[in-house]
Symmetry: C2
Subunit: 549 residues, 2 copies
C-alpha cells in the first residue's frame, strides 16, 4: 500500500451554491481509482451567460481519466446535484448509483441525452453497500427538501469519509425518517477520517427548524382564506407539497396541481413509493365548476420563473384557471438571491388583480433544507471526525464552516473547486490545484466559459453589432463596394445610417488600397473607421466584423 | 373658476421604486398650467435593458405641453429624483427650483446635457415660497438619507397638496433638523386636500429607526477592528459618511475617501454648507505610511457596482491602497433587490483575502431613509388629510399604503403611472389614463422602450446573429453568391460553419429565383433556411438578417 493515497477534489459546488460535483480518488498517485459524487448544474442569467441553457462544471480533468472512474453516486434529486448526469454519461462509462426516487429523476436526464438507462444501479440505504473499485459506499438516510436525500459513507483502505450531501437535522420531517446528529453516529460510529459537509447555511446562527413546523401555519392560512388559494413551492419538495395538500383537504378544498414539474415530481414520488397517501387531486378543467373557497392550487413558479404556472396565472389564465380578487397566493418558499426582481414582478401583478399575496417574511410558511451553524456544530461534536472539509457553499460559507470546526478542535481547510486534498496520517493537506471552471451547454454544444462566444453575445447585447462585407467591383481593384448590416443600434433611420456606414467603409478602403495593405490590415482599418463613425453619431461602440466577399 | 380643476399625474415612480416624476396641473381642462415634481431615472440591467445608459419616464405627454409648464421642483438629490433633469430641460424651458445641495447636484446634470444653469432657482425652506403659475410652492424640511430632502406644500385655488418626496421621521437625524409627523402639522396646519406620500416601506411593520441609532455600533466596530476598516455606503448619505468618519476619528484613525462619487458628494455638501465640521481626510497615497489600525477608508460600492472603489479593492489595488488579512469591510447599507449577486461576489473576494466582512444582517449598521407602516399611520393621523394618494412604490406598496389610509377613514386610491387623479369637492377620482412608459438613453439617443432596438439586442444576446449579403454574380441573374457573418454562435469551426451557411443561402436563392419572387420574399426565404440550418447544427435560433448587395 506504500504510495497509495486517498484524495478529495471538488470540481463544482465548493466556492458557489449549485453545480455540485466531487471527485474522490484512492490508489497509487497518477493511477488512482476514482468515483464522482454528484453531477450538478447551475442556472444561467442574462448578466453573465445570456442564452446559455445550462452551466456545468468543467469535467475535462475527469473526462481525461474516464477509464479510472468506477462509479457515479448521486446523493439526491436536485438539479444542482444531478442535472449534468446525462451530459457526462455520454463521456464516462461507469455505473450510476442512486436511491429509487433519485434514480427515477436521473433516468430522465439520461434519456434526454440519449444515454442508456442500463448504467443505473438502484441502491438501498445503509447498511447496504456498493463496491466501486477500492471504495465501499453506503447511502445514509438524510433529511432534506427532497425525498430520499442521502449522505454517503465512503470506506477505503486510506480512511473513512462521510460526505453529507445536502441535509438538515429534523426530528419530525413529515416524510421519511427523522435525522439527528446522533442518527449518523449510531449508524457509522466514530473514527471518521474526514467529514465533507454541506455549508450553505453555515452563516445562520439560529438552530434549523423542522419541516413539521410549517404545517400549522399553512393550515390556518388555507382554512381562513375566503377565495381560492394558490400555493407555490419547489415541486421536488414533496413533503411540503404534501403538507399543503393535506391542509387543503382538512379545509375541504379540492386540490389542483399546476405546472409540469409538479406532476413529474409527484409521479416519481408515487411510482417509487416515497408517497402513498397523497390526497386526491382533480383536473384543472373541473375546478371551474367549484366555489372558489373549495379550491387549493399547488403551482410551480416560487422563484418567479417566467413560464411557470404561477407566472401564467399572474398574467392571465393557466389551464382554464384564473385568479380573482379575494384569492390568496402563498409563497411557501424563500426567494433565491438573484430572483428577487422576477418574484416581485409576479407579486405586483397578483396584487393588481386583487389577490392577497403572503410570503415567508414572517418565517411561518417555509423552512430551509440545510443545516445552520449550530446544527453543524452538533454534528462535529457528535462525530468528532479527524478533519472537516466544508463543501457546497460560497467561499464565505466554506470559511465560516471551517472556522467553526477549528474552534471545536478539528483539523479543517477551505478547498475550493480544483483543489486536491490528500488525507494522510497527519490530516488533510492541499497537494495540488487543477484547472477548474465552468462549461456551458448552449443549444446542442458544450462550450468553455472562456471560449469567447458568450463574451461576444454580451458585447453585442450592450453595444450592438455592425457587419461589413467588402467587395472589389469593376475592373480596377481600387473600386470597392461595401454592404453593411447593423443590429441593435439606436439610429433614427437605420437604412439611412447603414448607407452612411457603407460610404465610410468604402471610402476608407479606397484611401488605403493603394498602400497595398493585407486583407487583415484592411479589415481592422475599416472596422475602426466604422466603429468611430457609429460612436460619433449615436454614442455606441458596436462589435464590428468585416469580411471580404 | 368654474371648470377649473386640480390634478395629479404620476409619469414615473408610481408602480415602481425609482424614476420619480409627478405632474400637477391646475386650470381649465385642456389648458391647465403645470408643474413637474422630480425628474428621476432608474438603472438598466442586462436582463431587460442591456447596454442602456439610463432609463427615464416617457415624458412625451409633458413635452407636448411644454409651454404649459411653469416650473420643475426637485425634492432631493437622489438619482431617482433628479437624474433626468438634464435630459428633460433640453425640451422644456422652465425654471428648476431646489434647495442648495440639491441644486449643486442638479447643476452637474444640466451641464452634462448642455443646458444653461441659468434656469436654476435656489430656494429656502418654508415659510419661503415660490410662485409657479397658479401654484405657490414651499419646501418643507424632511429627514432622509441625503441632505436637504424636502416635502413640497403646493397651494392652489383648487386645494392644498402635501407632496412628501422621500422622507423618514427622525428625532435625531445627526444632520439637519429632526422631523416628526407633528413638525409638518405645526408648519402647515391641517386642511390638506391630498397627502401624496412615499410608500416604499409601507409593508414594513416596525417603526422606523433614527439615523443616530447606527452611530454607536459603527463606533464600536471601528474601535475594536485590528486592521484597516473599509466602510461602504451611498456617497449621498452625507450623514452616514460623517458618522463613519467621526467613528474613525474617535478611534484615532486617519480617514481616506475612495471613489469619485464620495468626493463629489462631500464637496457639494461642504460647498453648500450642509456640512461644516467634517473630520480631516488624507490622500490615499499617504495611507501607505501608516499602521493599518490607524486607517479608516470610506468607499463607494455598497451595491456591488463593478467599477466602484470597493469592487476594485476586492480585485486588487485602488489608488495605492490594498486590503489585507485582518482588515474589516463594513457594509453600512442594505442590498437593493437585484444587486445581491454583485454584492455576494465582492464579499467572497474580500473573504478570500482574509478580510472580515460585516454586513447589516444584524440591523446594527444601517437604517432606511423611508417611513415604515406605523410612521405612515402617524402622519395620516397627525395631518388628517382629506385624501391620501400613495406614491413612490411598487404596486403592492401603493396598495398597502392605500389600505392603511382607508382603515383610518381617509379617502384613498391607487394611481399608477399615467393615471390622472382629479381632486374635486367629493374627493379624488381617476379621470383619465394617459400612455405612460419608459424611455431609454442609449448612447446619445433617446429611444422608446418599445422601439425594438433593445429587444433585438436581447434576442442576439440569447440566440446569436447571422447576417447574409446576397449578390447576383455572372451574367445570368440566377447565379447568386452569399456572404455570411455570424456572431455569438457556438459552432466548433466558425469559418467552416459560415461557409456552409453561404452555400445554403445561395442554393436557396438559386432554387427560388426562377419563381420570380420579390426581393423581400427572397429575403425571408433565405432567412428561414439559414435559421433552420443553424438550429439543426448547433441548436440555436439566431436573429438572421438578409440584404442584397
Amino acid at each position: 500500500m506504500a504510495g497509495e493515497r486517498l484524495f478529495y477534489l471538488p470540481l463544482g459546488g465548493a466556492g458557489e451554491i449549485g453545480m455540485n460535483a466531487y471527485v474522490y480518488g484512492f490508489g497509487a498517485e497518477g493511477s488512482e481509482r476514482l468515483i464522482l459524487v454528484d453531477a450538478g448544474v447551475t442556472f444561467p442569467d442574462m448578466e453573465s451567460t445570456p442564452g446559455v441553457d445550462l452551466i456545468l462544471p468543467d469535467f475535462s480533468w475527469l473526462f481525461e481519466r474516464s477509464r479510472q472512474v468506477d462509479g457515479i453516486f448521486l446523493t439526491h434529486a436536485h438539479e444542482d446535484h444531478l442535472g449534468a448526469v446525462g451530459v457526462i454519461c455520454r463521456s464516462i462509462e461507469a455505473p450510476v448509483y442512486a436511491r429509487p426516487f433519485t434514480m427515477e429523476i436521473a433516468a430522465k436526464k439520461l434519456e434526454e441525452f440519449g444515454v442508456s438507462k442500463k448504467i443505473l444501479r438502484e441502491v438501498a440505504t445503509h447498511p447496504a453497500e456498493s463496491k466501486a473499485g477500492p471504495f465501499t459506499v453506503s447511502f445514509l438516510h438524510a433529511a432534506h427538501s427532497v425525498p430520499e436525500a442521502s449522505a454517503l459513507l465512503l470506506e477505503t483502505p486510506g480512511g473513512r469519509i462521510l460526505h453529507t450531501g445536502d441535509f438538515k437535522f429534523d426530528e419530525s420531517p413529515t416524510m421519511g425518517d427523522p435525522l439527528t446528529a446522533d442518527s449518523w453516529k449510531r449508524a457509522i460510529g466514530t473514527g471518521v477520517t474526514a467529514l465533507v459537509c454541506d455549508s450553505t447555511n453555515a452563516l445562520q446562527r439560529r438552530k434549523g427548524r423542522s419541516e413539521a413546523s410549517v404545517g400549522p401555519g399553512i393550515q390556518r392560512l388555507v382554512e381562513q382564506a375566503k377565495g381560492m388559494v394558490v400555493a407555490t413551492t419547489f415541486a421536488s419538495n414533496i413533503a411540503r407539497v404534501s403538507q399543503i395538500a393535506q391542509a387543503g383537504r382538512l379545509a375541504e378544498r379540492e386540490i389542483v396541481l399546476l405546472g409540469r414539474a409538479m406532476h413529474r415530481m409527484l409521479n416519481a414520488a408515487l411510482q417509487t413509493g416515497v408517497v402513498s397517501d397523497f390526497p386526491r387531486t382533480i383536473e384543472p378543467n373541473l375546478a371551474a365548476g367549484l366555489p372558489r373557497n373549495k379550491l387549493l392550487v399547488i403551482a410551480t413558479g416560487s422563484q418567479g420563473e417566467p413560464r411557470s404556472a404561477t407566472a401564467q396565472l399572474a398574467a392571465g389564465k393557466f389551464q382554464g384557471i384564473e385568479v380573482e380578487r379575494g384569492d390568496t397566493l402563498l409563497y411557501s418558499s424563500k426567494t433565491i438571491p438573484g430572483n428577487e426582481r422576477a418574484v416581485s414582478r409576479i407579486i405586483n401583478m397578483m396584487a393588481k388583480k386583487g389577490v392577497d399575496v403572503v410570503d415567508d417574511s414572517a418565517e411561518i410558511y417555509h423552512v430551509s433544507g440545510h443545516p445552520n451553524g449550530p446544527d453543524l456544530e452538533n454534528l462535529h461534536i457528535a462525530l468528532r471526525p479527524k478533519s472537516v472539509i466544508p463543501m457546497h457553499g460560497e467561499y464565505r460559507h466554506l470559511l465560516s464552516h471551517s472556522n467553526l470546526a477549528k474552534k471545536l478542535g478539528m483539523q479543517s481547510l477551505v478547498a475550493e473547486n480544483g483543489t486536491v486534498v490528500e488525507f494522510g496520517s497527519c490530516g488533510p493537506r492541499i497537494s495540488e490545484k487543477i484547472e477548474a471552471g465552468r462549461t456551458y451547454l448552449d443549444g446542442f454544444e458544450l462550450i468553455g466559459a472562456r471560449d469567447g462566444v458568450i463574451r461576444e453575445r454580451r458585447q453585442i447585447a450592450r453595444n450592438g453589432f455592425v457587419g461589413v462585407v467588402l467587395r472589389r467591383s469593376g475592373r480596377r481593384r481600387a473600386e470597392v463596394r461595401a454592404t453593411v448590416w447593423s443590429a441593435g443600434l439606436p439610429a433614427q433611420d437605420i437604412a439611412d445610417f447603414e448607407e452612411r456606414l457603407e460610404e465610410v467603409a468604402a471610402a476608407r478602403v479606397a484611401d488605403k488600397l493603394s498602400n497595398s495593405k493585407s486583407e487583415d490590415e484592411m479589415k481592422s482599418i475599416v472596422a475602426r473607421a466604422v466603429r468611430h463613425e457609429v460612436f460619433d453619431h449615436v454614442g455606441k461602440k458596436p462589435v464590428v466584423a468585416v469580411k471580404f466577399a
